[in-house]
Structures are given as C-alpha cells and as structure tokens.
C-alpha cells in the first residue's frame, strides 16, 4: 500500500523526484538543487546545505532504491514476510526522499524571491484562514519547536475541503500520512541535522530565520493547482 501511495505521488507533477526505469525496476536519484549551497546564507549555512543534500538526502535515495529492489525480489518470490518487513524501511527512506525533494523547492535565495510573501490566491487563503501571515508563521514555529525528536512541520491544503492546515509529522512520515487528502505546500525540516551546526540546540532561532528564504512562489503554484 505504501508503494501505491508513492507511485501516485509521482503524478503530482514536476516534484523532480528523479524517477527512471531500469530493467523494469523504478529507481530514484538525488535531484539537483536549483541554487548554490551557499545561496541561502545567512539563514541556512552552506555547510548545512551541502551535508543535508549530499549526505542525508542521498542516503535516503540510496536506501530507498535498495529497499525497492528488495521489495521487487520479495514480491516476485511471493515472500510476504519480507515484504511486510520492508514496509517501514520504504516509508522511512521513501518519505525522506519525498520530503526533502519538496523541501529544496520550498527554499529560494533572497535574490530569487526567497522570503517574499505569497501573492494571489494563497496569500488570500492564508489571511482568510489564519488571520494574517504572522499568525501562520507563529503557529508553524510553535509547533515546529514543540515537536519532540525528529520530524517536519507542514503547511498543507486539504484538496477535498479546500482548507489550509498546519500539521506536524514525525521522523520522515510524509504529510499524506496525516490525511489522504492533504497536499504539502510548505515543509520545514526540524530534524537536528537541518540546523544543528549553525543554530545548535536553539531550534526556535532556526525557525525564525528560515522564513527569510521560504519560496512562496512554489507553494502558491501548488495551491493554485489544487484549488483553482
């Protein structure tokens, strides 16, 4: 079932999941960043961006492909026991790949519009639903700071109800694990590896500063597609 969800997500279009087929087996590859590692300074240091992209995200991709290979072999043999065992690895690594692919698009250097508040329908929806951008930012920062351990804080849209939601997920669970109709607009990684080298244990400072490089254009495009 996890696999079906993941294949469905491929059709969310242009998420840059780096999908290609080889011998009939789907494999994924690390998407390139649309900006330099140092382009998000001083909000996020180049060192963190490089490690985050080249080491952490790459590890998720590698392990995801490995798990998919093992899944392929197990399903071919009809080995349900192994399939069941692989589900958590698929969820973790697949989720990690999906989440980080969205994350890179959620960020943009200041000179490319990072930090610029959303115009159009998303901006309007935020004001309508939360009252103001400040309230939304405050809510996301509070929930992100309060999250115990590792996880993500999301701004999403319920594509059935057409409402905006703020949600947190733990570890690498994708937003869809909190509701089948939820589509992520904006995700902020609050795993310690996302900020520790620069902000140490002061996660609230990281959350405060990351808004300076948030790419609202991308979020707005996704929103327009789900709520035309």
């Amino acid at each position: 079932m996890a696999l079906r969800t993941l294949v469905a997500r491929k059709s969310l279009g242009n998420l840059g999941l780096g999908f290609r087929q080889l011998r009939g087996l789907q494999t994924y590859s690390l998407p390139d960043l649309p900006y330099d590692y140092g382009a998000l300074e001083p909000a996020i240091s180049g060192e963190i961006m490089q490690l985050h992209h080249q080491k952490h995200h790459q590890a998720y991709v590698t392990n995801y492909n490995k798990a998919l290979e093992q899944l392929d072999a197990a399903t071919a043999k009809g080995d349900s026991h192994t399939v069941a065992k692989l589900l958590s690895a698929l969820k973790f690594n697949g989720g990690g790949h999906i989440n980080h692919s969205i994350f890179w698009k959620n960020l943009a250097p200041v000179k490319e519009g990072g930090g610029e508040p959303p115009h159009g329908s998303l901006g309007w929806a935020i004001d309508n639903h939360f009252g103001s951008m400040e309230v939304l930012v405050q809510k996301m920062n509070t929930e992100g700071a309060a999250l115990q351990g590792s996880g993500w804080v999301w701004l999403g849209v319920d594509k059935e109800l057409k409402t905006l939601v703020v949600q947190t997920t733990e570890n690498q669970d994708p937003l869809v694990s909190k509701g089948a109709n939820l589509v992520p607009l904006l995700g902020i990684d609050v795993w310690e590896h996302a900020y520790y080298l620069q902000y140490k244990n002061v996660r609230p400072d990281y959350l405060k500063n990351i808004w300076k490089v948030i790419n609202w254009k991308f979020a707005g495009e996704v929103y327009k597609k789900e709520c035309p």
């Binding site: 490690l51 080491k55 952490h56 590890a59 958590s88 973790f92 115990q148 351990g149 590792s150 996880g151 733990e170 570890n171 690498q172 795993w191 310690e192 590896h193 520790y196 080298l197 140490k200 244990n201």
Partner: protein
C-alpha cells in the same frame, strides 16, 4: 551506581534563618558547584514571599563522572558542553518548571515519575523531560575516559552466552544504532522475563524502565549527540563508542545489581 538523581528541597518558609540553614548545610554536603548554584538560586527566589509555605520538588542537573574534556578526542568537549550544558540542562529546567505547576507529581522518585508520566503509552507532557533527564544521566555514566575494550568475568560470560560471542554482540549493537529511524537510544538490557541480555532500540525519550527491563548500557542516537563531532557518520560514532567510550565497569556494576532482581541461574562452581 544508583540512579537516584532526585532530592526534594522542602522548604517551609518560616523565619529566614531556617531557609538559610538548609541552603548552607546542603552546600557543604554536596561539593558539586552546580548544585550549590541551584540552591543559591532557589534561596534568592524563596526570599520573596516569606509568609506563604510553598513546597517545591526539584531535580538537579547531575554532572558526568568526568570532566567535560575527558572524553576527547572521541567525544569533544564542545559536544559535552552543548549536550550536557544545554540539552540536558534544559530538560532538567523544563521538568522543574512543569513540576512546579503540577502538585500531583510531587514526591515521586525519578524512576517512578517516568513510569507514572508514561501513562501506559499515552504520555503526559512531563514524560519527555523526566525520561530525558534520566536517559542522559544514565548515558554519561555509561561512558568513561579510557573506555571501550571488553567486559570481563561474569558480564562477558553472559554476553557470550546470549549473543554467541562479544564480536557478534558488538556487531548487533552497531547495526541497531544504524537502523534506528529518527531520534532515539540503543540499549543493552537484561530482560527480566526472558532472563537474558538483549539489544533494544527506543524512540525519542522512551527507555527500558517502561518495559521493566534493566538497562546495562546506552548509546544516545539523537543527532545532537554526534553531529558536531561526526556530522552524519553514525557508523563512525557508534564504532568509536564501542572502541573507546563505553564503560564496562559501569556495566558490570549495573549487571551485578540487576542480578539481585533476575535469577540467571546458579554459577558453575567446580567440585574439588
């Protein structure tokens, strides 16, 4: 090594003289500077409202049994300063803040507090802080300068009995640390029911006290524990822990204590 890190500073605020007496007495008994600081701090706070009698239950930040640079180069002083000085300290402070507001949790020992706030899987907000305070105390004491190597005598025998060989145990322990998803801890525990040693992975703040297993050593796999020294290289961190940091002395003491609760069978005493 007793895990009792709690003490209660009960202060019935009568004449200021009595509260002063309590503070200076305690400063003499406990040489640790941070505890004296804590008492000083509390003394200043208490000197405010003198008439009302307030009961406070406090936990204190216990220092590791070595200086902060003693684990170099395997765990840097910088890491200890952050991990103990900031993370561990904030768990203690936040716990104290929560306990101030919650009378019902007054009077428990740390172990009991953890089990009560775990609330059978539906944890209360205090659980996270309480468990993490305990976890970190246990972790610092699971390491020592000049650690690593191998256990000896009974503990080694038990490991060989339950894992086949020490090498196999070490491999399994490191594998556990690499396959833990997200934040958490890796433990060597003595299982009460199965009467054997086992390796346990727990998430976030959860620890074996919940399942009434007896922990023997632990390894912190939260990213803040290794990121400054090893970045994302969990494998190197876990190997260094096994080779240079783990305190088999502490483990032996804990194992000896554990055997008072778990009957591992009669020792083989040779006849003649």
């Amino acid at each position: 090594i007793m895990m009792e890190t709690s003490w209660s500073c009960c202060t019935n605020l009568g004449p200021s003289g009595s509260s002063l007496l309590v503070t200076s007495d305690m400063s003499k008994l406990f040489q640790k500077p941070n505890f004296a600081q804590l008492c000083q701090q509390k003394k200043k706070e208490l000197q405010g409202p003198r008439r009302s009698a307030r009961i406070h239950a406090y936990y204190g930040l216990k220092s590791p049994p070595y200086k902060l640079d003693a684990l170099e180069p395997y765990m840097s002083q910088r890491t200890l300063e952050m991990h103990w000085g900031k993370h561990h300290r904030s768990y203690v402070e936040n716990l104290n803040k929560q306990l101030e507001k919650n009378d019902m949790l007054y009077g428990y020992t740390m172990d009991e507090l953890i089990k009560v706030t775990y609330n059978n899987g539906n944890p209360l907000p205090e659980f996270n802080n309480a468990a993490q305070v305990w976890n970190h105390d246990f972790f610092w004491e699971s390491m020592q300068p000049g650690g690593g190597n191998m256990p000896i005598f009974g503990l080694l025998q038990q490991i060989e009995k339950d894992f086949g060989s020490f090498t196999n145990f070490r491999e399994k322990f490191i594998e556990a640390s690499l396959t833990l998803f997200g934040s958490g801890w890796v433990w060597l525990v003595l299982r009460r029911n199965e009467k054997r040693l086992a390796i346990l992975k727990t998430s976030n703040a959860i620890n074996p006290l919940i399942s009434a297993d007896i922990p023997i050593i632990s390894l912190d796999m939260w990213e803040h524990a290794y990121y400054l020294d090893y970045k994302n290289d969990k494998g190197k961190y876990a190997n260094v822990f096994m080779d240079h940091l783990v305190s088999w002395n502490a483990a032996t003491v804990r194992m000896a204590r554990a055997q008072a609760f778990v009957n591992l069978g009669e020792p083989k005493i040779p006849v003649a």
